[in-house]
Symmetry: C2
Subunit: 184 residues, 2 copies
């Protein structure tokens, strides 16, 4: 009955969307409202075998996930090239560097070297806090870990050097507002 | 023996690389030499079923090709957002518009509206000629076809309003040289 439905929808609301879903919906909002053109890249897949049945669509029957060589998202905002990676962590007090691959970090360095705007969006799922952190800070920690540095970025550092992204209704995660303040 | 090997390599040389392979190699050259950061997006795939065997990699056992909602390539050159689609046609005297999807053309319009650099690279495989054509011209023909216009862009128009891309050794297809002359 009604009670059950209400409870279901509360449960659904509590579950929360993933960070990626929220960002995709925000990007759709930005696109529809002519604010920015930012898309998630397709998941990279190594296709090994495809069947071509008569009279129906080609069917991939064997494929494997590949490591991404770039970041999840890129696009265009106010004439600028934008590039970022989204990461959600259950860790309460740090973002482990093992959430990134060497190729991704190298890509971020390249983007910054070529004057693109590059950052990460981090969500601490324990409390729902979301931050925008410049890719340069990730690169700093990434490089230091190979010289005996720590294997994660402390949340305190993300709070201090990053920028809190308020979450709202439309867009859900208004990271372009933060970009405006920080980069533009 | 040697004769056979030589013949094989000649055959391989004659076969020719696809336009996409040539562009990917050129992009790798641009990246390695710190000229630009431009990548092909992964092929979009709708994943329906995945097996997770013990002690080995997740295997996708059912998936289908999806229509791309954007273009094949994007990235960053001299601080500018670059976005393009590559198309090869066997038609001798025109590029049929059915090589494009409505979503792709809409995406190209959006990129140009937001001050990105957007174009197509067309290869006429009958004679190997390669051109860079501003996306605005594709959009023109795309929109006109729905008002009784023709369903293809004449090669003569590509020659007149586009820009020939010389092919060489490294990079194979130096489209950034043309970009320099036309857009920057
Ligand atoms: Mg991610
Ligand atoms: Mg293509």
């Amino acid at each position: 009955g009604i009670g059950l439905n209400r409870q279901k929808s509360v449960t659904y609301g509590n579950r929360g969307m993933t960070l990626e879903e929220d960002i995709n919906i925000s990007n759709q909002y930005y696109l529809t409202n002519d604010i920015a053109v930012i898309h998630k890249k397709p998941t990279p897949v190594q296709i090994v075998n495809v069947d071509y049945p008569k009279r129906s669509a080609a069917k991939i029957t064997e494929a494997y996930f590949k490591k991404a060589s770039t970041t999840d998202y890129n696009g265009l905002y106010k004439g600028k090239y934008i590039d970022f990676e989204a990461k959600e962590t259950r860790h309460r007090s740090s973002l482990p560097l093992k959430n990134f691959h060497g190729h991704q970090v190298a890509h971020m360095k390249n983007v910054q070297k070529h004057s693109g705007i590059c950052f990460i969006i981090v969500k601490f799922s324990s409390d729902g806090d979301i931050f925008l952190l410049d890719a340069g800070i990730l690169v700093e920690y990434w490089d230091l870990q190979h010289q005996g540095g720590r294997k994660s970025i402390p949340k305190a550092e993300v709070v201090r050097r990053g920028h809190s992204i308020p979450s709202g209704y439309l867009p859900r995660i208004d990271y372009l507002k933060v970009l405006n303040d920080v980069y533009l």
